[in-house]
């Protein structure tokens, strides 16, 4: 440390004859310009009524739902990522899967916490995996995509619930199997449409497999769900 001071004093010794006014310190920061978010340029959203804020967020969430239903290669989902949609879907799914009543000793279905943890930890692990494989997508963008693509499975859960309300056993199982399989493949396809683009081309299969497994587990939970009478 003393070495540093000495050398810096030696460096500054040559500047002693440069006239800088003593009470104007040279200040400033050397910033590497980062892609600043556009919030600075927009008007402040603090003064608008709450209804506007909520409606704007809901519109953004709804737009992303539409993107999931028709998975084209658009970057809207990635550019303005948000986690409201995934949270909504996750909570809805977990609530609907919580069918077993508290009295019966048999576990009618997974508990709320279990589904919640599976979805979020599964998403985190898939995101880490895709980043480790050399993906260019960021952590939260990936979470956003995976969360939004649970929507077909949530729809399938609603349909299964309705089917289970009535109808014979064997027939309803076939219907549920078809619905869950279709929605699970839709989810996988939709999420790979977004995720696989951010990977080197020969490694797409390596990223798709965990996504497939993730939605398969969720689909399996939906299919084997049986509400206690």
């Amino acid at each position: 440390m003393a070495q540093v001071e000495e050398t810096s004093k030696r460096m500054f010794a040559g500047l002693s004859d440069v006239s800088i006014s003593g009470d104007i310190p040279v200040e400033g920061e050397i910033n590497v310009p980062v892609g600043t978010p556009s919030q600075d340029k927009e008007y402040s959203t603090l003064d608008e009524p709450v209804k506007d804020t909520i409606l704007r967020d809901l519109k953004a969430v709804g737009k992303k739902f539409v993107h999931v239903m028709y998975p084209k290669k658009s970057s809207a989902l990635l550019r303005d990522w948000d986690l409201w949609g995934p949270l909504l879907l996750c909570v809805t799914l977990a609530l609907m899967l919580q069918g077993g009543s508290v009295d019966s000793k048999e576990d009618g279905g997974p508990q709320f916490a279990e589904v919640f943890v599976i979805i979020w930890f599964g998403s985190v692990i898939i995101t880490l995996n895709s980043k480790l494989l050399g993906g260019t997508i960021s952590f939260f963008q990936s979470l956003c995509v995976l969360g939004y693509c649970i929507m077909p499975l949530t729809v399938a859960m609603v349909v299964c619930r309705l089917v289970l309300l009535g109808g014979s056993w064997g027939f309803s199982f076939i219907v549920r199997l078809i619905v869950v399989t279709a929605s699970f493949s839709w989810s996988t396809f939709a999420s790979t449409a977004f995720l696989a683009d951010c990977q080197p081309p020969n490694r797409k299969a390596l990223v798709v497999y965990p996504v497939f497994l993730f939605y398969f587990v969720i689909g399996w939970m939906i299919l084997t769900f049986s509400p206690s009478a």
């Binding site: 440390m1 590497v32 576990d107 995996n129 980043k131 494989l133 020969n202 299969a205 965990p210 497994l213």
Partner: protein
């Protein structure tokens, strides 16, 4: 050694070390967090070292600046010079730099993920080939066999095993009293993979085997491929004899592969025997455990729940008691005849 010198001479390596100019030229006064996210895939050790050195130089530069500003060129404390704003600004600056340093230390956690990055550097072809090779034992045990140090395949196999286990537990109606189905499945599979790898690595360390932890993790992970196949088949096709055949054949092949790889890296009869025996026993017994513990309903729980809903598998599993009662009957018969003979005689 690098931290004590700071800006100056970091050329402590015999090969010349990194050029300071390069590091200082590309750095900035404010650490840009975006630069931490380097996915260029360059040599991971160098990246880690460079990041560390950049941070250390940044910190030392900050401290040097701070001490300089404090002492000043004529040794007077700047605050005393009278400009209140300057002191406030300096304090704010210090707080900002300290906060930034804290944040970058927290982001070190992210840099740790970069350490794992090279272990995931695989192609789908390689994974497929390694999966197939995990079932083919190699007989060359006098020369160390090559073990791939990769973590993608093992992790995916462990997760697949978890999914298959879940399927098995659901179809057999296993009831877990304390805990959840998912938690049990994940705990079992990951516990086996990490725990047994560590244990065998420890044994290998005791027996002087040339195997690293990563290689052990990778080897055992790929050995789970056989388990996945067997369980997938037998959870859907309920024949006990089929399970035993598959257990011996598929389980045996993958165990032999692992054992041969480990033995080829050990010297001496006794160490080889110890390692081989332990690994084979644990691997085969794990498959047995997975099949029976989660596939068959445990009798105790069933008795307390409901009687009539017995799945068909219950009937097949009555081998042992039948044998036992048959043996008992045979013993009874012999004893009776003996007694009769003795009483007559």
């Amino acid at each position: 050694m690098a931290s004590s010198d700071g800006n100056k001479n970091t050329n402590t390596e015999p090969w010349g070390g990194f050029e300071d100019n390069i590091i200082q030229g590309t750095g900035s006064a404010v650490i840009d967090m975006e630069n931490m996210d380097d996915t260029s895939g360059s040599s991971f050790e160098d990246m880690g070292e460079m990041h560390q050195r950049m941070k250390e130089e940044e910190e030392v530069a900050d401290e040097a600046e701070a001490t300089e500003e404090e002492t000043g060129e004529d040794g007077e404390f700047l605050g005393i010079k009278g400009i209140k704003g300057q002191l406030g600004r300096q304090v704010a600056d210090e707080v900002w730099q300290a906060g930034k340093r804290q944040a970058s230390k927290a982001f070190n956690l992210y840099a740790n993920i970069d350490i794992l990055r090279p272990y995931f550097d695989v192609e789908p072809m390689q994974v497929r080939n390694r999966l197939i090779e995990s079932m083919i034992p190699i007989r060359m045990i006098n020369f160390p066999q090559k073990i791939a140090g990769e973590l993608y395949g093992p992790m995916m196999l462990v997760f697949t095993l978890v999914a298959i286990l879940l399927h098995g537990m659901k179809t057999s109606g296993t009831v877990i009293r304390e805990g959840t189905l998912m938690g049990t499945a994940i705990g079992t599979c990951f516990g086996y993979w990490l725990g047994v790898s560590s244990f065998i690595y420890f044994l290998a360390y005791l027996c002087n085997a040339q195997i690293t932890m990563l290689q052990m993790l990778s080897l055992l992970g790929y050995g789970l491929f056989g388990h996945c196949v067997v369980l997938f088949v037998t959870y859907n096709v309920h024949f006990h004899s089929l399970f035993y055949i598959l257990w011996l054949v598929v389980g045996g092949l993958s165990t032999l592969r692992m054992v041969a790889a480990v033995i080829s890296r050990t010297v001496g009869q006794t160490p080889r025997l110890i390692l081989c025996g332990t690994l084979a026993a644990l691997h085969m017994l794990f498959l047995l455990y997975l099949h029976f513990a989660y596939h068959k309903i445990v009798e105790g729980i069933l008795d307390t729940l409901e009687g009539p809903n017995m799945p068909p598998i219950q009937r097949v599993a009555r081998d042992l008691p039948v044998v036992a009662t048959a043996a008992m009957n045979a013993v009874n018969a012999t004893v009776k005849t003996l007694v009769q003979h003795i009483s007559i005689a």
